[in-house]
Symmetry: C2
Subunit: 136 residues, 2 copies
Amino acid sequence: MQTEEEILKIKKVKNTAVRTVVLRHLLSQEKAQSLKDIENALAYTDRSSIFRTLKTFEENKVIHSIEDGSGMTKYAVCAKGCNCDPKDLHYHFYCTNCDKTFCLFDVPIPKIQLPENFKLQQANMVVKGLCDNCNK
Amino acid sequence: MQTEEEILKIKKVKNTAVRTVVLRHLLSQEKAQSLKDIENALAYTDRSSIFRTLKTFEENKVIHSIEDGSGMTKYAVCAKGCNCDPKDLHYHFYCTNCDKTFCLFDVPIPKIQLPENFKLQQANMVVKGLCDNCNK
DNA sequence: CTTTTACTGCAACTCGATTGCAAAGATTAC
DNA sequence: GTAATCTTTGCAATCGAGTTGCAGTAAAAG
């Protein structure tokens, strides 16, 4: 596992106090985090600072965002070597019971055969259901 | 193509003036519509009435909603026989240039091999890029 | 050390989504 | 048919996630 400092250095994002704590928090969580999740976890950091930090991280491919249909955008740290290209796509799993969103890095995404002359740039693939913990 | 009345009858939704015009509008559009799209198209119908109509339609599987990442939920009429089960899944294509969202009924969705003990209920699969009209 | 640029915190604001309430319309009971 | 009941509709207000302006602070450049 890389440290926050190493990740920021690799992605050429200047290190600051807010950026370090936000990234540390994201790394410490198994599920993708919303702005509110982060805000609640970091009591002394301002919402707009976290918000701008997330934007900066996203622009520089430190994290990626997920629209899981919960009404709040979630964020998760990109896997090592990820460039957020279509080739880096993975499914996200949204548990309708516990409300958590996971990255399914290990489930391959098949090639999508788009209609004639359509160009793939990105995708947001959210699978919804029950996670192993809630499916009992 | 079925009429609005036929669809509502099949889905056991009582027919009203608002429901007819909302469904008629959705049927007339090739792209999925947001609440605002519908509101703009139906000048004399109240937003909250359209909103509640969409909720009713969704509950009764008349339409399905799509989170395409544009910030506004879009709605499209379900295909004939659709029960909004996983088997009725299809990709949605969001054009990053013209901002339209289409249902890709003809692109098959491969079986997703979820991790052990996860249960699939639904999915929101949005592919983003350029549509044929914008890819020139 | 001074100037310039970037980051942070606060408060205000935007806008899509949602709800409370009363009036209007439809349905059921008598 | 009429009264009582339930549903739908329109208006206005509210909620909440996301976003921005601005001034103060910190860091980098000269």
